[in-house]
C-alpha cells in the first residue's frame, strides 16, 4: 500500500518500472558519466590541475631548503607592514618554498607573469590553508609533507595568501603576500 507497509505485491522485484521514472534514471546516469569524463578531459586539456608531486619531509629539512632560496635570491627587505619579510625574486623555473607557520606565510616571493615556478608548500606546526586571493585558489597544507605545484601566474598584481584552515587563536592574522610583475622589469 505505502512506504510504511510491506510492499503489497510480494514479488515486487518483477513489477515493471514506470516509463518516466526509467527515462529519468537513464538521463541521470548519462549525466554522471559526463561529469566523470569532464575531470579526465581536464587533466588532458585543462590548465588547472592540482599536482600529485609530494614528498615526505621534516620541518627542519623543509625550513633549511626555504632558507637557502631566501639567502640566494632576496632582492630587498620589506618596508612598513612587510618589514619582517625578505622579498625574494628567484629566476623562472626555480623551486620556491613557502612556509606556513603560526601565524604567517614566509617569505614574500616576487614572480614574473607568464613564467612557471615550482611552488612548494609545507607547514611547520599545525595544518594551514593556502588561499590565494583574489585568485581564489585553495590548497590544504600539511606539516611533514612537501607539496610541489607548478604555477604559472597569468596576471600581474599584488596577491594575498589568506590562511583558511583553522590554526588557533591568531588564525585571522595569518595573511601573506605574493607579487607578480609584468616581467622584463
Amino acid at each position: 500500500m505505502s512506504a510504511i507497509l510491506p510492499p503489497s505485491e510480494r514479488i515486487w522485484w518483477n513489477q515493471p518500472i514506470d516509463k518516466l521514472e526509467f527515462t529519468w534514471i537513464a538521463i541521470a546516469l548519462v549525466w554522471s558519466l559526463a561529469m566523470f569524463v569532464m575531470m579526465i578531459w581536464w587533466h588532458i586539456y585543462g590548465n588547472q590541475n592540482l599536482a600529485n608531486e609530494t614528498y615526505k619531509t621534516t620541518k627542519e629539512m623543509y625550513a633549511a631548503k626555504a632558507q637557502a632560496v631566501v639567502d640566494q635570491y632576496t632582492v630587498r627587505t620589506g618596508t612598513e607592514a612587510e618589514k619582517q619579510f625578505p622579498i625574494v625574486k628567484p629566476p623562472a623555473g626555480s623551486d620556491i618554498y613557502m612556509i606556513g607557520r603560526l601565524w604567517d606565510w614566509w617569505p614574500i616571493y616576487e614572480l614574473e607573469q607568464g613564467k612557471t615556478y615550482k611552488l612548494h608548500l609545507s607547514a611547520m606546526d599545525y595544518m594551514h590553508g593556502f588561499s590565494l586571493q583574489p585568485q581564489n585558489i585553495n590548497i590544504q597544507v600539511h606539516p611533514n609533507y612537501d607539496h610541489v605545484i607548478k604555477i604559472t601566474p597569468n596576471q600581474a598584481g599584488v596577491y594575498s595568501i589568506v590562511c583558511n584552515e583553522y590554526c588557533g587563536i591568531g588564525h585571522h592574522t595569518m595573511v601573506g603576500r605574493m607579487y607578480v610583475t609584468k616581467g622584463g622589469e
Binding site: A3, I4, I25, Y126, N136, I137, Q140
Partner: protein, 561 residues
Amino acid sequence: MTTTYRICPRSGLQFDKDAEKLMRWHAVAGVLALLLGGIMALGVILTRWPAVKLLEADVFYMWLTAHGINMLIFWIIFFEMAVLLFASSTLLRCRMATPKLGWVSFWLMAIGAIMTNVAIFSGESSVMFTSYVPMQAKWHFYLGIILFAVGALITCFIFLGTLVVAKAEKTYEGSIPLVTFGALTACIIAIFTIASGAVILIPTFLWSLGYIREIDSLMYRTVWWALGHSSQQINVSAHVAIWYAIAAIVFGAKPMSEKVSRTAYFLYILFLQLASAHHLLSDPGLGSEWKVVNTSYFMYFAVLASMIHGMTVPGAIEQAQRLKGYNKGLFEWLRKAPWGNPAFSAMFLSLIGFGFLGGISGVMMGAEQLNMLIHNTIYVPGHFHATVVIGTTLAFMGLTYFLVPVLFKRELLFPGYAKMFPYLFGLSMYMVALVMMGAGTLGVSRRHWDMAFAGAPMAYEWPGAAYLMMGLTGIFGVIACVSAGLWILQIVFSLLFGKKLEEGETRSTPIPLTLPAPTPGGAAHPPATPGTMVLALIFLTAFILYYFVNWKYLSSLWGMA
C-alpha cells in the same frame, strides 16, 4: 518480562511501550542538543556578521566547535536512534529486542555528549568537530565522542536484532517496508562509520594522554573523513526514509517502484562511504587517479541514487494525488497539496532545498579540479547547511509535528506557528546557504573570526560584495535561529502543557499486520507523472549550467600542473 503494546488511536500504529519510551527519550535528548547548538549558532552568526562581531576570538572558536558537534553529531544522531527504533519495532509491529540494553546505549550516548561538552566549555578543546591533528584537545573531548559512538553502535545492533525478532515472530508478511529498508541502509552505514571512527579516534585519544607520540595529519584526515563523510550518508538515508514516510502518511503515497527505490538505497551502501575522498581533493600526497575514481565512480553512483529518490518521492506523491482526481494540467497535484500541514511542507522544502542547493553544490565541489575553488571557504558550510539543515534537520522537525500527538500523546500547542514554521525556518536557511556559498565563491574563509583580519600586518581586503553576503548571512541566520528557537519552545510546551490525548488500547500480544490485497490492474497502471518529470528536468538544467559556469571560472585562474 512481558511486553505491552499500545495501539495509537490517531495513527493506527502499534508501539512497544519500552521502545516508545526510548524513542521519546532519544528525541528529547536530541532536541536539547539542538537547543544548545542553536544558541551557539546565534553566537557564531552574530560574530561572522561583520557589522556585529559579537564574540571574542577564543569564545567564537569554542562556540563554533560546540555548534558543529552538538548539531551534526548529538542532535542528528540522537534523533536518528529514535528513527531506527520507530522504523523497526513500530513499523514491523513487533517487540523491541533487548530494551534494557537500549537504556545502556542511551546513557552511554548521554554521558558521552555531556563529557565532550564539558571538555569544550572548560577551554583548550576548541579544535572544531573535525579535531584535526596535530591540534590537540583534552582527553575527555575524544573520550566523550567515543562513548557516544559506542552507544549508537549498540542501538544499531538492537535495530538489527529487532528485525530478526519480527521475522522470527512473523509480525509482517513479505518484505520489510521501504522506510524500514531505508533505516536498515542507515544502520549498515552507521556501523561502518563507527568502525572508522574507532580506528581514528581511539589512537587520537591515546595520543592526547601521551601514549602515542605523533599522528600523521594526512592519515588522520583520510581516515577521519571515512567517518565524517559516511555519517552524512546515514543522514541522507534517514531523511530520505522520512520523506517516503511522510509521503505515505500524508498522501497514502505508494513508492513508484519498490525495485528502483530499494536499489537506489543499495547504491548508498555500496558507494557512499567510499566517496569520502572528495574531502581530500585539495590535499597533497594522494594521486589524481585515486581522487577521480573515488569521487566519480563511487560518488556519482551515490549521486545517481539521490537523483532517483529526488524524483521518486515527488513522483509517488503525484501519483497518489492524481488517483484522488487532481488531474488538471501539470501541477494541480502540487497546488492542491496540503501546504498548511507542516509535516508535508517541511518535507517538501527539505526535498527541494536538498536537491537544488545541497546536491548541485556538493557535486560541483566534488569534482577534483573544481574543489580548489572553494576548499575551506565558507562555501563549504553553505553547502552542508543545505544538506544537513534543510535536508536532514528540517525533515526531522517536520516529522516531530507528527510525533507529538502520536508518540508523545499530546495535542500540539500554537498550531498557527506550526503552519508558518517550515517556511520561516526553511526559506531563511535557503538564504543562509545561498549567501554563504556566494561569499565562499568570492573566497571568504570558513572557521574564521574576522574577515577584516584585525591585527594582521598585511591584511587582505575582501570585495564589498563579500561583506554584503556575510551581512546577509547574519540577517537570515538570525531569522533561522529565532524560528528554530520558537520551534523548540513550541515542542517543549506542547510536551509539558499540551492537552493529554487518549492512550489507546493496550494489550500484551501484538496484532500482526494485515496486508491489503494487491490491487490487480489498478496498481499495475498508476498514472504517469509528467509534473515531476518537468521538475526533474528544471533541476537538471540548473545543475548543468551551474556545473559548467564553474569550469569556466576555473579556466581563468593561474596555470597549475
